[in-house]
């Protein structure tokens, strides 16, 4: 199945040059963790995950067409 992925901040460099989002083919019932592995995001890295704009985590199970945003720890205010 296909999901739309956006990587931000320091993870942005893992995106194809000049692109702000990408479509990724993952196995059915893949988790965010599986996706992260596929994208070469370091396993030990803490992540903030938003799936379709809602709170997610590495354990979130993905569905076809999901919009996945992955951030390293960020903050401000």
């Amino acid at each position: 199945m296909k999901v739309t992925v956006k990587l931000f901040a320091t993870l942005k460099e893992l995106m194809p040059e000049g692109q702000n989002q990408m479509t990724v083919e993952v196995e059915d019932e893949a988790t965010v963790d599986d996706l992260a592995l596929q994208l070469d995001i370091p396993e030990e890295k803490d992540l903030i995950v938003k799936v379709n704009g809602r709170h997610g985590s590495r354990n979130t199970v993905l569905e076809a067409g999901d919009r996945v945003g992955i951030f390293p720890p960020v903050g401000g205010g």
Partner: protein, 578 residues
């Protein structure tokens, strides 16, 4: 330690011993207590009876990391309630080194008389500048004063907006390069300074005795430990230094909580173009600075220096809220235009958040169109010129909404709602509604658990847990605002149980106290109680602790959520304190 009182009616300065009940207070705790003790809650904020209190935090001036935050307290011209407006820059550290606990400015000179207040190791003195400096913006004022007195002095000044006593006027505080990029922004403190006839305060710590210090060795140990706690936290130690606060554009946009087109939508199509990542790339390309401290000794260094297309300095301290407001909320995706707006606000001396919300309201009313950066820039320039239109805009979102007859005005207690949609980040909604300060994102920054997974996770779209989250954060923040620590230190404190005890150790070592952890929370509660009591005496009731109706009636996309936390539930925030 001493407190100075400056009486502008008589033009006299006097020095006072610190009352025992003020001894353990600093920053917000002290400014709010003095305002509550000395100011009639029903006075006119720009009249003779209001006061302006300036206080460094308890730790300011020491080697405690990121502890150079300043509090300015007054009765707010914008909200008509109590106000503590917090700023970085170099003022707090210099005041701490001069062992000045607070400066209380009261009374009023004759109309049209303006002074510079000079603060140094020998005390305070007023100098008449009625024929000089007037009508100047903050950049010119700071350059002129530093040209005379040296680059190391700190300048706090008002621009034209403060001279005109506009309700969104700020007090600028010079950054380490002497630029007016740090502001006591919120609540119109600059109007009060203008009403007191003070154009600038110059703080020179040459020959200062250094901060009050009871046990230096113990202090240094605790400060080193706390520095490590900040550096080890991924946001304080890595995220903020690398991207500053604008990194939030993308995460709020992803979360559907980035207010767009005067709070109509939670996502902005142009978000990528105004994101922190984009700003960082531009800064790098133009040889600006992506990592910059608002005061020396800050380890988080979330500020930055932004150059224009020619590579010349344009602005610094280019914050998320500013970029959100002049960007997404106005449907503007031109980052250079937004940077220019930031520069204009810093120079004229107006709060960028209030102005961003105001521009949204002006667009709503059809004064200019959404997505018109040139129109927005022109409107902001009007403020400095003192035209009737400029004065309307400079009095903030509520005033502008009334002037142009629109009822879609995102304010609480007449203060503009910042950069997190209260329907999609409900914990923030609780804080906006109930804060003693009016809509203020820092007063109880629930974005932590709602969006950033800091200090646990609370679903931002559900009402569950938001009241407790906001209350706990409001209490903790009131305490942090008293120490002089930056509110971002709270990220480490929320995630690391060792960090808060390290702060308590620093306070105990510095002042010879025996505070325990529980005392920190008691202090926060007591500050909120004092502030809330002032507001009650000024005529505020629970009915003022509410969001504008449209947040309850209109669902915001993409999540199509309304603000569904009831008035009764909001009242529980302070239920136990009142």
């Amino acid at each position: 330690m001493k407190i100075y009182r400056v009486n502008m009616t008589e033009g006299k300065v006097s020095e006072e011993e610190v009352k025992e009940e003020y001894a353990a207070l600093g920053g917000r705790g002290l400014t709010s207590q003095i305002i509550a003790d000395e100011v009639d809650p029903n006075c006119n904020p720009i009249g003779e009876k209001n006061k302006l209190v300036i206080a460094p935090g308890l730790l300011s001036g020491t080697m405690a990391p990121s502890s150079g935050r300043l509090s300015v307290g007054t009765k707010s011209p914008l909200t008509e309630g109590i106000k503590e407006s917090n700023a970085g820059g170099t003022a707090a550290q210099k005041l701490g080194k001069l062992q000045i606990k607070a400066i209380i400015i009261e009374g009023q000179p004759e109309e049209g008389q303006f002074y510079v207040l000079k603060v140094n190791k020998d005390g305070l003195a007023l100098e008449d500048v009625s024929d000089d400096l007037m009508g100047q913006g903050n950049y010119e004022v700071m350059e002129s004063i530093q040209g005379q007195l040296g680059e190391d002095v700190c300048v706090m000044s008002i621009g034209q907006a403060g001279e005109y006593k506009l309700q969104a006027a700020s007090i600028a505080v010079s950054d380490p390069e002497g630029h007016p990029t740090r502001h006591c922004g919120r609540g119109g403190t600059g109007a009060v300074m203008g009403a007191k006839g003070i154009k600038a305060i110059v703080i020179d710590d040459d020959g200062a005795p250094g901060p009050y210090m009871d046990n230096r060795d113990e202090f240094i140990e605790a400060a080193r430990d706390f520095t490590q706690s900040l550096l080890n936290h991924p946001v304080c130690g890595e995220g903020l230094p690398a991207y500053g606060t604008a990194v939030l554009i993308n995460i709020l946009n992803e979360s559907g909580g980035l207010p767009t087109k005067n709070f109509r939508k939670g996502r902005f199509e142009g978000a990528d173009k105004i994101s922190g990542e984009e700003v960082a790339d531009i800064i790098k390309e133009r040889s600006g600075k992506n990592t910059h401290g608002c005061h020396p000794g800050c380890v988080m260094q979330c500020s930055q220096v932004y150059n224009d297309k020619d590579g010349d300095y344009l602005t610094a301290g280019f914050e998320y809220e500013t970029i959100w407001g002049f960007g997404a909320n106005a449907e503007v995706d031109d980052i250079d235009a937004i940077a220019q707006m930031d520069r204009i606000c810093d120079d004229i001396g107006v709060d960028t958040i209030e102005m961003a919300v105001t521009i949204g309201v002006a667009m709503e009313a059809g004064v200019i169109e959404f997505g018109d950066p040139e129109g927005a820039i022109d409107l902001l320039k009007e403020i400095g010129k003192g035209t009737p239109l400029g004065r309307i805009i400079g009095n903030g979102a509520g005033f502008t909404g009334k002037a142009f007859g629109t009822d879609r005005v995102p304010v609480v207690k007449n203060q503009g709602i910042p950069a997190y949609d209260p329907r999609a980040v409900k914990g923030q909604g609780v804080t906006y509604a109930t804060s003693t300060m009016g809509a203020d994102h820092t007063a109880g920054y629930a974005v932590t658990s709602n969006i950033l997974d800091i200090g646990g996770t609370v679903d931002p779209l559900s009402k569950e847990g938001q009241v407790d989250l906001s209350r706990d954060l409001q209490v903790a923040t009131a305490s942090v605002d008293s120490t002089g620590l930056c509110v971002f230190a709270a990220f480490a404190i929320l995630d690391n149980d060792k960090a808060l005890p390290q702060v308590v150790d620093m306070l105990n070592a510095q002042y010879g106290l025996e505070l325990e952890l529980g005392d920190v929370f008691d202090l926060g509660k007591s500050i909120l109680k004092t502030e809330r009591d002032f507001n009650k005496r000024a005529g505020f009731t629970n009915a003022d602790d509410r969001l504008p109706k449209f947040f309850e009636e209109e669902a915001v996309p993409p999540h199509n959520v309304k603000f569904d936390i009831t008035g009764e539930e909001l009242d529980e925030v302070y239920g136990e304190l009142d």
